[in-house]
Amino acid sequence: MKLKFAEERLFKVLMIGATLAVFAFVGSIIYSILSKGWGAMSWDMITKLPGGGFYVGKEGGFLNAIVGSVYVVGASAALGLLVSIPVVFYLNVYLKRGSRFAYVARLAYDVLFGIPSIVYGAFGFTIMIYFGLKTSLLGGIIVITLLIIPIFIRSMDEVARQFPREILDAAYSLGATRLETIRVVLRQIAPGIATATLLSVGRAIGDAAGVMFTAGYTDSIPTSLSQPAATLPLAVFFQLSSPIKEVQDRAYAAALVLTLIVLVLSILGRYVTNRFSKHKLK
């Protein structure tokens, strides 16, 4: 009789311990990035390009990586939205509930979502060789677009599935075609789309393995699609592997910038859902 209460107490302690461990992990990650990165941070880091002796510890910053990441992810997000919004609309409005094709499609997008970005990178590289492309901004954009589409579709689909079917029926009864209901649907799921976009962009901007062989790395800001582009995760990765302390410090500064960008996107995503869903019919 006593034993079961002892067991209850033991496991409760273990559970609280596990939950505290989660906080400890988050705390130690944020703390280590902040404390290391803050010391190395300066205005030059985020406003200047790498100077002559940058990689032996002389002046300059990693503006090239920040701009490169924004270019790659911005273009990929725009292209990705162009593909994924119609797909989500098709899955949820055109296809009937319980459609076999929708089931297979969702399964396939989930699988694509699960495929590691290094495989996307390797695959993207073979495509680029096939078309005779060198490592370039374009290559990075292609791979990140392929990578981001399943993330977009699955996260928007989750939102769209909550959409009440009665609203569609109301629109049909007024004589709207399926395509014309898009205005009603979009207005309803717009906050969800915004959140999904922000969270997916946060994921794409931190991806290093996909852009490693496709976008390359460079010290300047690309001026055309065929030039290579630096990206933030790779700036962290390459500079950290340097034996020189000043260069390593810059890796921490770049890591801090990347972490802040991702955190802001994540918080913004939550905020949009909370703030703008008041017009939503439940």
Partner: protein, 296 residues
């Protein structure tokens, strides 16, 4: 009037082809990687590639066993660390915690999920690697750089935590409340109910979640690459370096173009990852969909 119907049909066609095309990506990817890695099959045969442990690309010897062993070990360590923590956390959040507690834990999990791989790598080199080389390893072995299989496993374990917790929560919530009430009314404690009723009810779902997390862990590249030591040998202990498959691909991309069979070998590595992850994902997703359906 007819024009509107036509527009509806055309838009439907366009959207269908967009969907179908994006789905074809799975097939094209598999086919592309297979074609690129075909030369190495012809030269060496599948058995030699998978079970030989001699990796000397310049001499034309491509044995993937060290990398496969490294991948498996790192993943096993990650799962051993992450599954108990995430299961306990998920049970706590669903069965025990008050809503206020959840309000604080969920954002923390969101942050863990949002942080990029490379940040985990930096964290690993700053905290985990020194922890192992200065504190943990000296108690067991003479010398360790800290860049070890254990470090990679710990970092990877923390990385798959948020995924596991959110899947576990979803699965545990799917157990109907009546089952819990029935068990409690028979005099069981909350933990006894959790252990013998709730968890027993959803074992397939939990297993599927673990499989999904494993497939995520298998493909993690940058974070693991930064802490695993990158030595192409079969790891002998927790404190020796290892070299998982994704790290192999990432490290050697630059040099591979010099040698056609080297390129094919790396493509073969990507193909192994692709096939294993694809299978694991298919199995676990099909099971998870079934769990989801039970909720609705």
């Amino acid at each position: 009037m007819r024009f509107r119907v036509l527009k509806d049909k055309v838009a439907g066609g366009v959207m269908f082809s967009l969907t179908a095309l994006s789905l074809l990506l799975v097939v094209v990817m598999g086919a592309g990687l297979y074609m690129k890695s075909a030369p190495i099959f012809d030269e060496h045969g599948l058995g030699e590639l998978l079970f030989s442990s001699s990796w000397k690309p310049m001499r034309g010897e491509f044995g993937f066993l060290p990398f496969i062993a490294g991948t498996i070990w790192v993943t096993v360590i990650a799962v051993v660390i992450a599954v108990p923590i995430s299961l306990l956390t998920a049970v706590f959040l669903v069965e025990y915690a008050r809503p206020v507690t959840r309000k604080y834990v969920f954002p923390a999990l969101d942050i863990l999920a949002a942080l990029p791989s490379v940040i985990y790598g930096v964290w690993g080199t700053l905290l985990i690697v020194p922890f192992i080389s200065d504190w943990l390893a000296p108690r067991f072995v003479d010398f360790s750089t800290g860049y070890t299989m254990l470090a990679a496993g710990i970092v990877l374990g923390v990385m798959i935590l948020p995924l596991l917790v959110s899947l576990f929560i979803e699965i545990i919530t799917s157990v109907p409340g009546e089952l819990r009430e029935a068990s409690i009314s028979l005099g069981a404690t909350r933990w006894q109910t959790t252990k013998s009723v709730v968890i027993r009810d959803v074992r397939p779902g939990l297993a599927a979640a673990v499989v999904l997390a494993v497939s995520r862990a298998l493909g993690e590249t940058i974070a693991v690459l930064m802490v695993c030591g990158n030595l192409p040998e079969i790891p002998r202990s927790l404190f020796s370096a290892c070299y998982p498959i994704p790290a192999l691909i990432a490290n050697n991309y630059g040099e591979m173009l010099s040698l056609p069979s080297y390129e094919a070998a790396l493509m073969f590595a990507a193909l192994i990852l692709f096939v294993v992850v694809l299978l694991f994902n298919l199995i676990s997703r099909v099971i998870l969909y079934r769990v989801e359906k039970n909720v609705a």
